[in-house]
C-alpha cells in the first residue's frame, strides 16, 4: 500500500523484515543503518524489551533517491519474531509493499524457519494478500557461523523456496555479507510492482 504523492513526486513504500525470533532481522537493519548513516537522517527506532528483544518493531526510514522521476523513501520495519507476539506482528504487516524473509541457517532452527514462513502466509492472507504475489526475497542468514552445524543452501531452498521460487541470498547480518544486495533486490522488486502506478 505504497503512497504515491503526485504533487511532491514522492513515493513511500513499506518493506518488512520477517522471520523467526533471533534470526537476524534487527541485525539487518542495524547493519543498513551503520552502512548508510550519512544518508539516513533520522535515528533508528526500536521498540524492545529490557532483554533487548524486539517487542513491537524496529523502524528505519531510508531515502533511496530518484527512481523514474520520483523521490523514493522506503520505510524498513522488522517484526517481533517470538511466537507470542503474533498480534503485533500482524499489525506491522499492514500495508506492506515488500518482504524480506530472514531465515536462520542453523540446523537446529530448521523447523522454526518453516513455521515462521507459514505464519507469514497466514498473516498476509488476513489482509487478503497472497505470499505468491507480494514482492518477496529470502535471506539465509548467519552463514558466517563456524562452530555450529548449518543447513546446506539446497536444503533451505527446498524447505522454503521450492514453491515460492523467489530470489534468495546466503548472508550474514553480522559481517554484512549480502545484506545490501538483499535490500537492493527487495527494493527493485517492490518498485517493479508499483511500476504501472508510476507513469
Amino acid at each position: 500500500m505504497a503512497f504515491v504523492n503526485m504533487k511532491t513526486k514522492e513515493v513511500q513504500a513499506k518493506i518488512v523484515f520477517y522471520g523467526p525470533g533471533r534470526g537476524g532481522k534487527t541485525s539487518n537493519l542495524e547493519y543498513i543503518y551503520s552502512k548508510f548513516r550519512e544518508r539516513i537522517k533520522s535515528e533508528m527506532v526500536s521498540i524492545k524489551t529490557h532483554g533487548d528483544r524486539t517487542l513491537f518493531f524496529d523502524f528505519l526510514p531510508f531515502d533511496i533517491g530518484k527512481i523514474m522521476g520520483y523521490d523514493v523513501k522506503v520505510q524498513l520495519y522488522t517484526v517481533p519474531g517470538q511466537v507470542k507476539y503474533d498480534a503485533t506482528r500482524k499489525l506491522v504487516l499492514k500495508g506492506v509493499d515488500g518482504i524480506v524473509f530472514v531465515a536462520d541457517s542453523q540446523v537446529e532452527q530448521r523447523k522454526k524457519n518453516v513455521l515462521s514462513l507459514k505464519n507469514l502466509q497466514e498473516n498476509l492472507s488476513t489482509y487478503k494478500k497472497s505470499i505468491f504475489k507480494v514482492p518477496l526475497v529470502l535471506q539465509y542468514n548467519k552463514r558466517d557461523l563456524k562452530d555450529v552445524p548449518l543447513l546446506p543452501i539446497e536444503v533451505m531452498d527446498k524447505d522454503l523456496n521450492s514453491q515460492l521460487k523467489v530470489p534468495s541470498f546466503p548472508a550474514s547480518a553480522v559481517t554484512g555479507h549480502n545484506v545490501v544486495p538483499t535490500l537492493k533486490k527487495i527494493i527493485s522488486a517492490t518498485m517493479a510492482s508499483l511500476q504501472n502506478v508510476l507513469k
Binding site: 533520522s42 499489525l91 499492514k94 500495508g95 487478503k128 494478500k129 504475489k133 502506478v197
Partner: protein, 139 residues
C-alpha cells in the same frame, strides 16, 4: 483459496490527485496551524505520510512519528476490540509542553496533531472535527 485474494490489495487508492492534496493541505493549514497547532499530519494506517503542515518551528522526525502513530493507533484499536469496544474515541497524550492528539478520519486515514499549552483540548477537538469533515468531503 485463490479467489479470496484481492490482486489489487497491495495498492492504495491512488485517486488522491494533486488538486485534492492541495485542498487537504489548505485545510491543515487554515483550520489547524492557524488555530495554534504546532504540527499536523494526515497519515495512512500503514504509516505513510499523505499530507503535512507545521508552523515552521516544529522540527520533528515526521517519518518516525508517522510510523509510531499508526502502530500506536492500531495497537489501541486492537485492545479496544479485545475488551469488546468498537473503538476508543479519545486518543490523546499529554506532555509538559507538547501534546499529541490522534483522530480517525476514515478506516484508512488518521489525523495527528501536535500542539502546546496555548490550545485548549476542547477547542482542538472541535477544530479537528471540522478539518476531518472537510477532508472527507475531498474524497
Amino acid at each position: 483459496m485463490g479467489s479470496e485474494y484481492d490482486d489489487n490489495a497491495s495498492f492504495t487508492d491512488y485517486s488522491l490527485g494533486p488538486e485534492q492534496l492541495e485542498v487537504i493541505e489548505q485545510v491543515l493549514e487554515e483550520d489547524l496551524i492557524e488555530s495554534g497547532v504546532h504540527s499536523v499530519m494526515l497519515i495512512d494506517m500503514a504509516g505513510n505520510i499523505i499530507a503535512q503542515h507545521d508552523n515552521g518551528e516544529a522540527q520533528h522526525d515526521l517519518y518516525s512519528l508517522a510510523a509510531l502513530a499508526s502502530a500506536n493507533f492500531a495497537a489501541v484499536d486492537t485492545m479496544a476490540k479485545i475488551v469488546g469496544e468498537e473503538e476508543f474515541s479519545l486518543l490523546f497524550h499529554k506532555g509538559e509542553s507538547e501534546n499529541i492528539h490522534f483522530s480517525k478520519v476514515n478506516p484508512e486515514y488518521l489525523l495527528i496533531t501536535i500542539f502546546g499549552k496555548d490550545v485548549a483540548l476542547g477547542l482542538l477537538r472541535l477544530k479537528v472535527a471540522e478539518a476531518i469533515q472537510k477532508i472527507n468531503d475531498v474524497w
